[in-house]
């Protein structure tokens, strides 16, 4: 890791002015009382353990809830009984949309769900959007911009809002789920959480446990790219994909 960037020269004077505007002369030494900051890593771990247990216990109803909220948020939702069925559904979506070039991430989920074979059988050969073969930044970007469809896995899917948390890392480019006009997200049952609170509690713990080693970036994708900026008329597919599919295993 590169060294920590230096403190901005104006910081001290800036904070002094803020403090004096608040009518104080001394800096605050003890952390202000705030419920979400209170729990240390151990207590947060305890909290997350409860969350995980609850989500396991209610998995099947949460999956149903996700399917409902996603459909209401303009996702095309398909549910698959097993990996083979899921792969078949993805090939079917690609075929129906007349997809010619498809990019996918290099996530582990595609080791469990082999989508490449059924895709090839419908005449689509998936390209893996990764820098592996000494692709430059520009080449990667062009590849993503040219593709008709992107397929990736998710870190979590949140039933409350039909939000898929997508975390880019090695093998998972940010542009794979953003640049192509069609997107398919493949969700495994243990990735599904009930609420936003569940997700952020887990995220906080992850950051506490792996300080400096976790991803600096993630996204929620909660539906098709949309705008209503011209005459308040809803139009889908502006900068991101206008056609979004959620394939839920289980």
């Amino acid at each position: 890791m590169s060294p920590t960037p230096e403190e901005h020269p104006n910081k001290t004077a800036f904070l002094l002015r803020v403090r004096s505007a608040l009518g104080r002369t001394e800096p605050i030494v003890h952390m202000p009382d705030h419920p979400s900051l209170k729990s240390n890593a151990m207590r947060q771990q305890e909290k997350v353990r409860t969350i995980v247990a609850r989500n396991e216990a209610r998995r099947s109803s949460t999956l149903d809830r996700l399917a409902r909220t996603a459909a209401a948020a303009s996702w095309n939702v398909r549910r698959a009984g097993d990996a083979e069925e899921a792969a078949g559904i993805i090939a079917e979506i690609a075929q129906q949309s007349g997809v010619k070039s498809l990019v996918r991430s290099a996530e582990d989920v595609f080791k469990r769900v082999n989508i490449d074979t059924p895709l090839r059988s419908v005449g689509v050969s998936p390209a893996i959007l990764a820098s592996g073969r000494s692709r430059t930044r520009g080449a990667l970007r062009d590849m993503a911009f040219r593709a008709d469809m992107g397929v990736t896995g998710v870190s979590y899917a949140i039933a409350e809002t039909a939000s898929c948390a997508v975390t880019p890392r090695r093998g998972v480019a940010r542009l794979a789920s953003l640049a192509p006009p069609r997107l398919v997200l493949l969700i495994e049952p243990e990735q599904v959480l009930e609420t936003l609170d569940d997700f952020f509690a887990i995220t906080r713990l992850n950051r506490m446990q792996a300080r400096g080693r976790t991803a600096n970036y993630f996204n929620f994708i909660s539906g098709p790219s949309r705008t209503a900026d011209i005459e308040q008329t809803l139009t889908i597919g502006v900068h991101g994909p206008g056609e979004v599919h959620m394939v839920i295993l289980g």
């Binding site: 104006n10 202000p32 990667l140 705008t227 005459e231 900068h239 991101g240």
Partner: protein
Amino acid sequence: MAEVKSAEFKKASGKALRDEKLQHSLEHVMEHFVGARANVIEDDFGDESWEAMRTRAAGIKQSTLEHLDYYLDMVDKSVRRNGGHVYFADDAAQANAIVLDIAKRNGVKTVIKSKSMVSEEMGINHVLEGEGIEPVETDLGEYIIQLAGETPFHIIAPAMHKTRQEVSTLFQEWLKTAPTQDIKRLCVYARDALREKFAVADMGISGANFVVAETGTVCLVTNEGNGRMTTSAPRIHVVLAGMEKIVPAIEDLALFLRLLPRSATGQRITSYNTFASGPRAPSDEDGPEEFHLILVDNGRLNLLRDEVMREALRCIRCGACLNHCPVYRKIGGHAYGWVYSGPIGAIVTPPMTNMKVARDLPYASTLCGTCKDVCPVKIDIPRLLLHLRYKVAEGAIGERSTTWMERLFVGQWHGAMRSRRALEGKANLGRLLTRPFARGGKVRKLPFTPMVSGWTASRDFPAPAPRSFARLWREELAHDNGTELR
């Protein structure tokens, strides 16, 4: 800093009121937002009601403001720990200089921007253009008003005053596209034009909806995907954030992400939420190599310093107070003369810019209180408006703001309200003087009296009843008792 044109408030609102096309689109869009919000705040939030959520959010933001120096320090340490740079800018000029320095150091030629109200305050586009750097707005609405050379009409719907014909004409001129009435087509034109910019831009500038102190995470709330593009495609990501944008912990976002989109567009969640805490990790496939967070004061200290006004900094810029304001709904956003409009604009513009220039804004309200009722962080906007009016009247702008007539009237009023007899006497006098001018139950115009005729020039006064309530009451009592009251 962007020019403050709030001194033109009265003239500009008059112009807006006479613009029929504008009146039509205001009515249409505001109705849409109000209805959509009403629809989703009734959702089942589990253990917490909408009202309880608003109270909790107000508490979190207020407490963060009360300890702002502490949390600013926390943000700084967290972001730098993640490998990002943090800057503290006192005003627009400093913030502009910091952005320009980063751009020049990296030989940046094209900058893509996702929506940022702070960047509007700074007038950064002009500054960049002046240095030969091309800034491109990527939010569709912002892109349209950038081409038109205007300022945002509404916090979340910047181009709501533009018709499809006007957008088509703009695109014909700037993008050399064919004329069309098809909105979908217009979006495709913009998408294609902006894709070219995404592919070549070296720097992306975004705003921040929330900055999480503990993790150093910047959260962006968007629908189009331009926020993701801006933070993913270019080599450098610069975040511009007002220093009040902080929430302490990442778990607080669950609450704010429920409140913000519902209050703003009536959505349960927007299509995209981007969470960026620093540059890409060495192991990441793509993403910016440099991450710069610029925390901006630019007049916010004036709000923080005043214990009454401080709560205005709780604002999360949802625009609900605009959508529900009977004044905004008639005059629209441009009349307010600066970056922020509607009730929130009326309370933040005078302290942040210039009390004297923006002195009319605190009066641009009927004090109906709807803004306070819909505010997701419970800012008591009417109280703050009155506080500013008080300051203006007390000479905060360096001159007496009242006329001798006003002072005479208030003096008389003061006298009348101290004694029942005096009040009745004065009310009877007023009745005698105004009744001759009443037509159809209303006094439309009063001549002769300079202050009062000024008042009736833009309002109707209900005609006084022939007999006062006090007199009716006495007569009723007398009738019941069969005796004459003294």
